[in-house]
Symmetry: D2
Subunit: 186 residues, 4 copies
Amino acid sequence: MKMLPIAAAVVLAFSVSAPVFANSSVVNTNITESEVLAAQKAWGEALVSISTTYEKQGHAAAKQLAEKVIDSAYGYKYGPVLFKPTLTVAPQTFRTTREGALAYFVGSDPAFPKDTGFALKGWRNVEIKNAAIYITGDVATTMGNVMITDKTGKVTTVDKTWKFRKTDDGKLVIVVHHSSLPFTPQ
Amino acid sequence: MKMLPIAAAVVLAFSVSAPVFANSSVVNTNITESEVLAAQKAWGEALVSISTTYEKQGHAAAKQLAEKVIDSAYGYKYGPVLFKPTLTVAPQTFRTTREGALAYFVGSDPAFPKDTGFALKGWRNVEIKNAAIYITGDVATTMGNVMITDKTGKVTTVDKTWKFRKTDDGKLVIVVHHSSLPFTPQ
Amino acid sequence: MKMLPIAAAVVLAFSVSAPVFANSSVVNTNITESEVLAAQKAWGEALVSISTTYEKQGHAAAKQLAEKVIDSAYGYKYGPVLFKPTLTVAPQTFRTTREGALAYFVGSDPAFPKDTGFALKGWRNVEIKNAAIYITGDVATTMGNVMITDKTGKVTTVDKTWKFRKTDDGKLVIVVHHSSLPFTPQ
Amino acid sequence: MKMLPIAAAVVLAFSVSAPVFANSSVVNTNITESEVLAAQKAWGEALVSISTTYEKQGHAAAKQLAEKVIDSAYGYKYGPVLFKPTLTVAPQTFRTTREGALAYFVGSDPAFPKDTGFALKGWRNVEIKNAAIYITGDVATTMGNVMITDKTGKVTTVDKTWKFRKTDDGKLVIVVHHSSLPFTPQ
């Protein structure tokens, strides 16, 4: 063993490449950037899927798919989700329950009379451009623009914040989602 | 609302009493709900302080105070902050740097020509109504409405998401801040 | 964009490789396995350095180095460290203070009369064999054997648990350290 | 110490009341000190229950109870547990699998020939004296002495480190457990 002065030893600690580690097993509950990017991508694909399912198979099929998407992509089964969709208004701005999220995506819920079904609006493509990502433990927050293209080619840009949490089964769920149209100066 | 000088407001944020624990000592890096509520309150008081400092002492004093507020209440010294202020527009929507945050609060920065100084607009009171809070480890995200009253009595309501992190010195800093005007149906 | 059924989209989320991500910056406070392994290695090197410094430069120099090692490698400045050294006995088994750790490493402290200076015992090499590692957020716990060889070639094996925490400045400190000689059946 | 059946002991561990919070709902994945203390207490009660079950109902019943205890009190279903029991020896010192833990507690497993069943040794009371506790996020590490009294009144004291993790269902499981007899100077 080489005799390193302690200053060098401390520096060493943060400059080595990951060694091969044959004899142990590792549990790691942390979320990674690539998991977050993949979950964002899956969200966009799910939105488009709901739109096309609606067009090809009707509202019931779209609603059923939306329920699956909400159950797998959002964390409602762990408690309230901090969801502020793009187009909701007071007094139903925040959709902390699964019912509120479902109404927003597919409408037709008398309890949320102003919802017309955001996911049904003919979406064809979703592009995500993150401004920055903040990772701590099993949660990560992203902020940036999301550009959603509909079947006529029209692009809607929103400012979006997502917070994902990695659950005990290794899946990512959205626990915070704040979406807003860009500010328009009067 | 009482006008607290900023020093007092900052102290307020961390005035939670520690639990008695007779037979051992405890290190706990977690953030608590009461710390979060105090930090929200301190943010509102700081905003009002910048407004009143501007009116009584002018722009230079207001800018100096805003710098102090940003340095103590936001986490820019740890890296980019995910900050989407209420009134910013593309291509400068996201203010991930300290300079961008300062320009938003007090304006007069040629690098951010559209900023007119949000904190200078005569604010007198800030009220916070959380829809829900999500706490994991040393971070907590809040979502809800913030009602800001100006000196004419006019109230501006915004939809706001904040994520606070408790740093190693036990202070809370904002690491995510998404603020938006309520959606207005056409 | 391809129309993926939702099941496929969800699978996608956890099977993609990290994409290049030009336009954003990332803050990540999590600890990694390679950081942990490097910190373990640095601990071993520091122990050997104290031994050789003692032999070449005497006790004062060894003590000074031990103080530097403790201050950089252990988390005493953040609160009590859960340190159960290999050779301590009741009622001073647990060394939750910096003073207790220093006494253990270099002895000569009247407040800890049974300490003879563990780090002064002619150590030449440290080998670490982890049984497993458990990572959550900014902390990671390792458990396994540490084999310490002295200048006569004699190897001492201990059962060791370490918990490291990554602080706000990105450095790793030991916050838990339980070391024990293997059980010897009577 | 009262003899609680294991079901009651397990319930005990999670009987902390939630704080009242009028105007919002809160998700909090963090572990608390009182949860940790309750989980420690439940561990002690479970150990005593296995001993008394063995005496009254025989080995099969004790083994069945031990399996329940391991499944509810340890985190083996999430991956390896870093378990160094008091009395194990190389090359089977570390019990990172459920099988290894069960063999340690009740013996009679040919794969672990030196295990005689630690939990069967007539335990009547467990007292825990923490030196310190270290809490980050959903994990907490305790270090201190555990005094175990058997039916003859003899007290065995061990140095013990436990790390608990709060899982998504709000339960605490042990993910690290390092137990050792006090060092005996020659």
